[in-house]
């Protein structure tokens, strides 16, 4: 009888290594498949990071061809943490009508940046998650013209940060945009929002929410769409109201995607720079990454810049731990 003799037809070049792979243990298999990713990361991420860490242990050498001086251990970090490092630009709010809450003008730059970064990250991720979830729920429905609504909601994410910054810069530019008047009419902003730290912070926040909510919406939508529709039938028959279906089925099942989205949004928000640069400027709303850039570009204090980068990473890793704990226990979870 014509029995199955064709299993090993593997003529293609790939077939042989693939077949070899199949016979390996799960562990070997995993490592082999991870190799391309780690190769890429090693070249472009791990190697530079190790270098950067090495740089952060060296002294700045502003005035010599080699930007790095002798080995000084953790001094750069110590100086940063004790506020001994001074930057060419310090956080100043020239508007006298307000001052930034919690951190004064004279606070060390790192402290200011830390405050701005954390406040921004928490607020932006919070709002983006809520709004993004709302958008995703809308996009999850079946309705006429859905594809266009989807595109519309995703559009902000497709606009480059610089342009997004430009839009909001122009909107709040006193002679061009109507944003300031509108906000004043709402009783929120002072005269020159773009030079007031508080107002600028809000502008940056809103601009970021406007843009990156789409990111959350897109990812959450994908999560929603992957849920087995049959489970809703079961829940309905079990007596679940729409809210309960959301609470007990949708939310837990979309949680992995949601957490991934939030995790990366948080990390991204904590590295905010481009948007600030394009609207209010790093001087008005300094973030941790602003510090890195200032040290990197304005004064060629690359060792200090490296140290700030690592401090930023440490702060971010603190947040990430929270997510990892949340992801634990989830399918495909981390820890």
């Amino acid at each position: 009888m014509s029995t199955d003799t064709r299993a090993d037809r593997g003529g293609s070049l790939l077939a042989r290594p693939l077949n070899w792979l199949e016979t390996q243990s799960e562990e070997v298999y995993a490592y082999v498949l991870l190799a391309p990713a780690f190769l890429l990361l090693a070249l472009v991420a791990f190697y530079p990071l190790i270098e950067t860490f090495r740089f952060s242990l060296l002294a700045d050498a502003v005035a010599s061809a080699d930007p790095f001086g002798e080995f000084i251990g953790l001094d750069n970090y110590v100086d940063l943490l004790t506020g001994d490092t001074t930057f060419t630009q310090q956080f100043i709010s020239v508007s006298t009508t307000d001052s930034f809450p919690f951190v004064g003008f004279d606070a060390p730059f790192l402290q200011q940046a830390l405050f701005v970064t954390l406040a921004f990250a928490i607020l932006s991720v919070l709002f983006e998650t809520l709004i993004g979830f709302g958008q995703a729920l809308v996009l999850d429905q079946d309705f006429y013209g859905r594809r266009w609504v989807r595109v519309s909601i995703i559009i902000p994410w497709a606009i480059p940060i610089v342009i997004q910054g430009m839009i909001f810069f122009l909107l709040f530019n006193p002679t061009i945009g109507f944003g300031t008047e509108f906000m004043q009419w709402l009783g929120v902003f002072g005269d020159n929002p773009l030079s007031s730290s508080t107002d600028s912070f809000m502008i940056v926040l809103v601009a970021d929410i406007w843009k990156t909510t789409a990111f959350m919406a897109l990812l959450i939508l994908a999560g929603l769409q992957s849920i087995d529709r049959g489970l809703y039938d079961v829940a309905k028959v079990s007596g679940a109201s729409p809210w309960q279906r959301f609470r007990y089925i949708t939310l837990p099942l979309v949680a992995p995607a949601l957490l991934v989205a939030m995790l990366f949004r948080t990390m991204d928000a904590m590295r905010i720079y481009g948007l600030i640069d394009a609207t209010a400027g790093c001087e008005t709303v300094p973030s941790l990454t602003c510090l890195v850039i200032i040290a990197l570009q304005n004064s060629r204090r690359w060792a200090t810049a490296s140290a700030v980068a690592f401090l930023t990473a440490i702060v971010i890793s603190g947040f990430v731990v929270v997510y990892l704990l949340a992801l634990r226990g989830n399918d495909g979870g981390v820890a």
Binding site: D228, G230, L231, D233, V234, A235, K236, V237, S238, G239, A240, S241, Q244, Y248, I249, P252, L253, D331
Partner: protein, 375 residues
């Protein structure tokens, strides 16, 4: 607890009519089983009753209330799904207690009921397993427990025991019957297991291609099938059919002629009929006395012998010339049940008699039953 009334329910998918003008009244506390070939519309009917799918036409009443447009949660039902559909993110306890927690029962009550349900389905000690760590049968039992843990007006159960072994199945059957008795709940049940259908149901609803064929108590369906379809579908192994024609003093067919008085049976000479006789109503001629009213003996040849434990199925040919069809029983083939100790071999020539009392006649063109006994 709740009557269920279907009135002219039709469900059409694009090019398939899954349920066709079904009208069915299920009484409060009744146990009705839907049976029918694969794809005949059983699950679709269930889903319509549950409110998971809206009927294209027709109305549904549960407990006397028109629920056609009510969402499932307000219909007071619970359901075991054919595809099991456990919540993959919840462990067994959470799956079972889902409906209770939705209703904010207090913890103690939830625990008590879950324990009880787990006990019924014999899943004690598995409370914190996740669905994907369980075997097929275990999952199915969780699904059953999830349905019975609540006390709704009606249970809908779509093949709840398909993946369970015989012993568990018998156990579950008993338990479901007990539940049914104790809670006096209406149960609508789908099964492909004839034994289940027979033993559990108050009535059986036989469906074919979306059309209701007969709704009657199990034995009535068995003994007095309304038409050829029901006759062939109910009973396993299935009834034997012989195509024939009514003559003045009985019927004739290529292989078997039986004499009876057409007048008393409501047939007329010349009518094309199909004769139906169940395997257990055919006896070896030597045991003719076991038949209540044996016919004359016919010759037959033993084609295949199939022992099934407590009995033996023998496939007979009326004639050595009949070609044994590879599948099912063709014209001129018969299946009979024999005691396991009967001394008989494949190829033997034997003589058989039928029990006139259990010979069914069907009109060949309409398929409708004419009589269920020639006595």
């Amino acid at each position: 607890m709740a009557s269920v009334n279907l009135e002219g329910i039709t469900k059409r998918y694009e090019d398939v009519t899954a349920v066709d003008d079904m009208t069915l009244d299920i009484e409060d506390g009744e146990f009705v089983t839907f049976v029918g070939p694969s794809g005949c519309g059983k699950s679709t009917t269930m889903e319509t009753i549950a409110g998971l799918t809206l009927p294209t036409e027709g109305t549904i009443e549960i407990g006397g209330r028109d629920v056609t447009n009510l969402p499932p949660k307000d219909r007071g039902i619970s359901m075991v799904f054919q595809n099991i559909a456990l919540f993959p993110h919840m462990d067994v306890y959470d799956n079972i207690s889902f409906g209770l927690r939705l209703r904010k029962y207090d913890q103690e009550e939830v625990d008590r009921r879950v324990e009880e349900a787990a006990d019924i389905v014999q899943l004690e000690g598995m409370m914190d397993r996740m669905p994907k760590e369980m075997s097929g049968g275990q999952r199915q039992r969780v699904a059953i427990a999830r349905a019975i843990v609540r006390n709704p007006g009606a249970f809908l159960m779509d093949e709840p025991l398909a993946n369970l072994d015989a012993e568990l199945r018998v156990h579950m059957r008993t338990q479901l019957q007990r539940l049914h008795r104790e809670l006096d709940t209406t149960i609508i049940y789908v099964t492909h297991d004839q034994a289940q259908a027979m033993t559990m149901s108050d009535r059986i609803a036989v469906i074919n291609s979306g059309v209701l064929q007969q709704v009657a108590p199990p034995l009535e369906c068995y003994n007095e099938p309304k038409n050829l379809f029901v006759a062939g579908f109910i009973g396993s192994p299935a009834m034997n059919f012989i195509a024939g024609e009514v003559v003045d003093d009985g019927f004739v067919s290529t292989y078997a002629n039986v004499d009876f008085d057409p007048a008393t049976q409501g047939v007329t000479a010349g009518q094309e009929i199909t004769v139906g006789i169940r395997p257990e109503d055919i006896y070896l001629a030597e045991n003719a006395e076991k038949a209540a009213s044996p016919t004359k003996a016919f010759d037959a040849v033993v084609d295949v012998i199939e022992p099934v434990g407590k009995e033996v199925n023998a496939y007979l040919l009326f004639d050595r010339d009949v070609e044994a069809s590879a599948e099912g029983r063709g014209e001129g083939q018969l299946l009979i049940n024999l005691a396991p100790d009967t001394e008989i071999d494949e190829g033997d020539d034997i003589q058989i008699v039928m029990d006139r009392e259990n010979i069914h006649l069907f009109d060949q063109s309409s398929g409708e039953a004419i009589t269920h006994s020639l006595e």
